[in-house]
């Protein structure tokens, strides 16, 4: 039975974990994801879950234990943030390469140095090439829903890949919002029983994680790359099925007021909520601004992005992390790559749409509605032929 409850983002993650009731959770505390671990430990202490909770001594061990438990045939989940995700780096690649369907909640937080506990996307962007599926969440409802869908996506027989559910540290992790919760029965019937593709506990001799040299490694990477082709369809199908069951559908991207829009803004995470308000206001005053919210950052939904953004005259990307020394930042480079040179001969075969990049909100710096509107105005001006900085910042001294 759906129930409206007032809940903090981290509690919503812990609640989803409780309702999914996985076989093993191995996790280590770090701000701003700590409450996930704490709250879940309460469920364990009160006997509300069957989960074996492994309170490991580091995030490296958390991911190692998750890989072990998943290889043993269990449904496995964890949560972390920032430095914790950084410490897992080596194991993130291994989890994906071993095709372990682990679900991990990541409260997005800046990376040291200097140390900062607040939101930006540097942590998960640093892990974007590790082979995980990345789902971003706009608000508390979405983290809750994404956690539940992530299990289905990860464990789908055509996918068998780990998923990180990203949500903005503090902005969502510590904000109280009213969400529609679900009952244990509803969640259990949606996620279904875990059907492990592999279990060390069946005692059949098998070797997982061998030495893989010049003669096979490349084929294994190639076959891993093939697996990502199935993911978009599964994300869409699971999002639809979730909608049918509970009334909230999900896709890889979400268009907001894009019909007839002259320019589009593109963003990840909670900023989308603020942008929606700005877009509403600007639309009312006759400015044709739309929003393309990216929910699935990995695999990157290039075709959907292209279909959506080809309709506008200019695009403004919001990047909440940087690629130091690169040309443009993570979301921008993905969008540009999706938009240009899309045919086999490298030609973009279409109108060359200007795409701007603005880095904002590093280390938890707030972005105001006024700043968003100013950027949107700039994009509108570019659509009319004005020249501005291509890659720049918002809200930094």
């Amino acid at each position: 039975m759906s129930e409206r409850i007032l809940i903090e983002g981290n509690e919503a993650v812990a609640l989803a974990l409780k309702l999914i009731d996985p076989d093993v959770v191995a996790a280590y505390p770090i701000t701003p994801a700590t409450e996930v671990v704490q709250k879940f430990a309460e469920y364990v202490a009160d006997g509300e879950v069957v989960t074996e909770f492994v309170a490991v001594e580091s995030e490296h061990s958390a991911m190692s234990a998750c890989i072990g438990a998943s290889t043993a045939g269990g449904r496995v989940m964890t949560a972390t943030s920032s430095q914790g995700l950084g410490l897992m780096w080596e194991m993130l690649y291994i989890a994906a390469s071993l095709r372990r369907p682990i679900t991990m909640a990541v409260a997005n937080r800046a990376l040291s140095g200097n140390i900062n506990i607040h939101c930006d996307h540097s942590d998960t962007m640093g892990a974007r090439d590790a082979g995980w599926i990345h789902l971003f969440s706009e608000n508390t409802q979405e983290i809750f829903d994404n956690m539940i869908q992530a299990v289905r996506i990860a464990e789908h027989p055509d996918v068998r890949l780990p998923v990180m559910v990203c949500y903005d540290g503090f902005v969502i992790s510590h904000a109280r919002e009213v969400i529609e919760s679900l009952s244990k029965e509803e969640v259990q019937s949606f996620v279904g029983k875990h059907k492990a593709s592999l279990s060390l506990l069946d005692l059949e001799p098998k070797t997982v994680g061998p030495l893989d040299l010049q003669d096979y490694y490349f084929e294994h990477k190639r076959s891993q790359a093939e697996a990502y082709k199935a993911v978009p369809g599964v994300i869409e199908a699971v999002g639809q099925e979730f909608g049918k069951a509970f009334g909230r559908s999900y896709a890889q991207v979400e268009e907001y007021n894009m019909d007839g829009a002259e320019v589009a803004l593109v963003a990840l995470g909670s900023t989308n909520g603020t942008i929606k308000d700005v877009v509403d206001g600007m639309n009312e005053s006759g400015k044709k601004v739309g929003l393309l919210k990216i929910r699935a950052f990995r695999p990157f939904p290039a075709e959907l992005v292209r279909a959506s953004l080809s309709k506008v005259k200019a695009v403004g990307v919001f990047d909440r992390s940087m690629t130091f020394g690169g040309w443009g930042n993570p979301l921008f480079t993905e969008i540009r790559s999706a938009m240009y040179g899309t045919s086999g001969n490298g030609c973009c075969c279409g109108p060359c749409i200007p795409i701007l990049d603005r880095v904002y909100g590093l280390g938890g710096r707030e972005i105001s509605m006024a700043e968003i509107e100013q950027y949107a105005d700039e994009v509108l001006a570019v659509a009319k032929g004005e020249q501005v900085e291509l890659i720049d910042y918002i809200g930094v001294r």
């Binding site: 490991v56 190692s64 998750c66 070797t207 994680g209």
Partner: protein, 306 residues
């Protein structure tokens, strides 16, 4: 304890065809330990000679369920496997009795894997951790570890004209593990099958974490002829360089006391890694090594009440 004849009829967990060097101590230790188990086992291994030489895709020498993921985390990996097993038992998803064994080299255990090992011991998972100690990072070309004996030449502590090999005493990992309050910690050797089989069986039987530190000579890194494994082990025990002992619930027992304790030179001389110590002027280093061994041995005898 099973007789050698009985053991010879048991199915091996690690079979032939692997690419470890001729005369390597590691596979001998692993085979003996797997044979000692009364229960089906699941094995996890750290990166190192043992893992890379037994799992070259598409071949494997492991005839048991086996997983490797990285270098420093085999204790954490086995924690996860064991946790999943516990969860399955609680949920009635399995009723098999299964035991879990993690193997790591000295590098993967004394050094980079110490944190994961300590965490797993403290959490009390039901598993046996086996360190096969060959006293250096052999897989990457004989670099020093904190298990490398004082004086040994390695590729990161070469015997130079100013610095003659490794300057530091080796870490006492067995007692570090025992200090976690685990029920069973012991030192054994690839060179004495009875000692190893007996200790492995005991360690596997323990309900909770157990630790075995097994001397596993490396002819390549120690620079001695490959057929000499047993004699090198014997010298390690007879000089008391590698004492064989057990710590059961804190109680020390010496497993082997040489009739005549040999001078440390007898262990050093056959090994190329100590050749430079025999040059005139390095007597002091040998004396220091002898003093290390003597004080360790006397301390052990005291702790064992002997």
């Amino acid at each position: 304890m099973a007789s050698l004849k009985e053991l010879s009829t048991k199915q091996e967990g690690l079979v032939g065809g692997h690419r470890l060097c001729a005369g390597c101590g590691a596979p001998i230790a692993v085979r003996q330990i797997l044979l000692a188990s009364e229960y089906p086992v699941v094995v996890s291994s750290a990166t190192g000679c043992l893992e890379v030489a037994t799992t070259i895709f598409p071949y494997t020498s492991w005839d048991v369920p086996f997983v490797h993921s990285a270098f420093e985390n085999t204790a954490a990996t086995v924690s996860g496997i064991e946790a999943c097993y516990r969860s399955f038992v609680r949920q009635g998803k399995t009723d098999k009795k299964i035991k879990f064994i993690a193997f790591g080299g000295d590098g993967g255990t004394y050094d980079i894997g110490l944190q994961a090992l300590s965490g797993a011991l403290e959490r009390g998972h039901d598993f046996l951790y086996v360190c096969y100690d060959n006293g250096a990072y052999m897989n990457t070309g004989i670099q020093r570890s904190s298990a490398t004996p004082r004086g040994a030449a390695t590729t990161t502590t070469p015997a130079g004209t100013a610095v003659p090999g490794k300057q530091q005493h080796r870490k006492n990992l067995t007692e570090i593990c025992a200090a976690h309050g685990i029920a069973y910690a012991a030192q054994s050797t690839a060179g004495r099958w009875q000692d190893l089989t007996k200790k492995a069986a005991k360690a596997i039987e323990v309900d909770g974490p157990a630790f075995l530190n097994v001397l596993a000579p490396c002819p390549r890194g120690w620079r001695y002829p490959t057929p000499d494994l047993l004699s090198i082990c014997k010298l390690a025990h007879d000089t008391c360089y590698w004492p064989l002992y057990e710590i059961e619930d804190g109680k020390y027992t010496i497993s082997y006391k040489p009739k005549e304790k040999l001078p440390i030179e007898d262990f050093l001389k056959p090994q190329g890694r100590f050749r430079h110590l025999m040059a005139p002027g390095n007597e002091g280093l040998i004396a220091q090594l002898q003093a290390d061994v003597d004080s360790e041995w006397e301390r052990l005898l005291r702790l064992a009440g002997e």
